[in-house]
Amino acid sequence: MIVIWLSVHQSLILTIIKTTKGSAKIKMTSTALFRKDLASEIRTRYAINSLVMFIIVTISVILFSIGNEKISDYLSGGLFWVVVFFTAMSGLSRAFVSEEERGTSLLLQLIASPSTVFSGKLIFNLILVFSMNVVIANLYTALFEAFVIKNLLLFSAAFLFGSIGIAISSTVIAAIIAKAGSKGTLYPVLSFPILLPLILILIELTKMSMDGTTFEEGMIEVAVLICYDVIMISASYLLFDFIWKD
């Protein structure tokens, strides 16, 4: 009995060591792919330019259309996520679309495993979404008087998990649409039903944080947000093999 227990214990430890080594290697190669994407982005400005232009244009249009009118607090909170959603639609598909358009996706298939590719692209999109959302939030706070957050902790949680959710969803959708013919149309069409539940919760949480609702009261919405992220990342890793190959 003791011998069996010891051998099971030993094999379990060996498996853990092997898995840790394997995941450390995937992490390293994913980081390398992220660095390659970042260097490529800095040189080509594939996504950054369109994101920056979109942020400037949408916020300007909202500002001009409002004029001197006083808009409700909730509307400004909702509009914040509308700007985030459409900005994400304008630039985040580039992670995979640029590889496909330039014909380099075959090269990626030859040098990296699907999990490495997905992780690398996800890290890149996470950084891009966070930077984009920080810029939008700062511009929004500076330009819209009605956008006043009373519970910063609740808004920060919504901001953090919302950005993660947007990055995961847009990365996997970008991989799906990259091989399609009319990518430009397909991306927002496919993203809308997938991102809609996320955007609705984010609007609700923003409204709560503008009302000054306590973090405990908004806990259920934050939990739903975390669940969305976990479901999306699990589904993405499981499905990516099939999306990436063939």
Partner: protein, 211 residues
């Protein structure tokens, strides 16, 4: 000693209702050069993509083994080198940057000694810091050979290897292919007689077209 073996176990590939090839069987257990022949559109590129695991065969299996153990699909890319005219390198990076990123993404050591040797052999050493977008199509093809051989893979797949190359480039490729064949399994998919003359055994895909 390389104990790599490739077993193609009766693979069939169809695109919709169109049959590309049927029940292809091949076993490469020894180092050397193997040829895949067939006219344009006969499915040579599809066949080599099946060997690399880029596309899956409709039926049958491709088994890559090292020391009698099947190589996991997740790690297969580290054991294969691939050259083809439709392979595109990153234009915005220099040749050296491309090779550095490939090594890092593969998770293998950047073997400077081997890469410098290959850069010299393919006459790209002096241009290694230039952006790939400034390269001619022949130079890009030569860089693809370095990309395929830099990590000393057990299997090297060359699809139309001499396209875009001038006579001196072709000779250089044949010399390197013969050298590499001592330590690796090399598969050449081509309809060029001079390419196929290097092969010890040739599989003609035209013989695998019957329904």
């Amino acid at each position: 000693m390389n104990n790599y073996s490739l077993t193609i176990d009766s693979i069939t590939k169809t695109f919709g209702r169109r049959l590309i090839f049927k029940n292809v069987i091949l076993k490469c257990e020894e180092n050397g050069i193997w040829g895949i022949a067939g006219p344009n559109g006969s499915g040579k590129s599809t066949f080599v993509k099946c060997l690399c695991g880029i596309i899956s065969p409709t039926r049958g299996k491709v088994i890559h083994s090292l020391n009698n153990k099947e190589i996991e699909p997740e790690k297969l890319h580290n054991h294969i080198g691939f050259v083809s005219p439709y392979l595109v390198l990153y234009d915005e990076f220099s040749a050296e940057e491309n090779l550095h990123y490939f090594a890092e993404i593969r998770g293998v050591k950047y073997n400077k000694e081997k890469i410098d040797y290959l850069l010299n052999e393919f006459l790209l050493y002096d241009r290694r810091s230039d952006f790939v977008k400034a390269y001619s199509s022949g130079m890009k093809q030569r860089l693809k050979f370095i990309f395929a051989l830099m990590h000393s893979p057990e299997l090297v797949i060359l699809d139309e290897p001499i396209s875009n190359l001038d006579n001196s480039g072709k000779e250089k490729v044949y010399k390197i292919v013969n050298e590499e064949a001592k330590n690796s399994v090399i598969i050449i998919a081509s309809n060029d007689d001079s390419d196929l003359a290097l092969c010890s055994s040739i599989l003609d895909l035209n013989n695998y077209k019957n329904d």
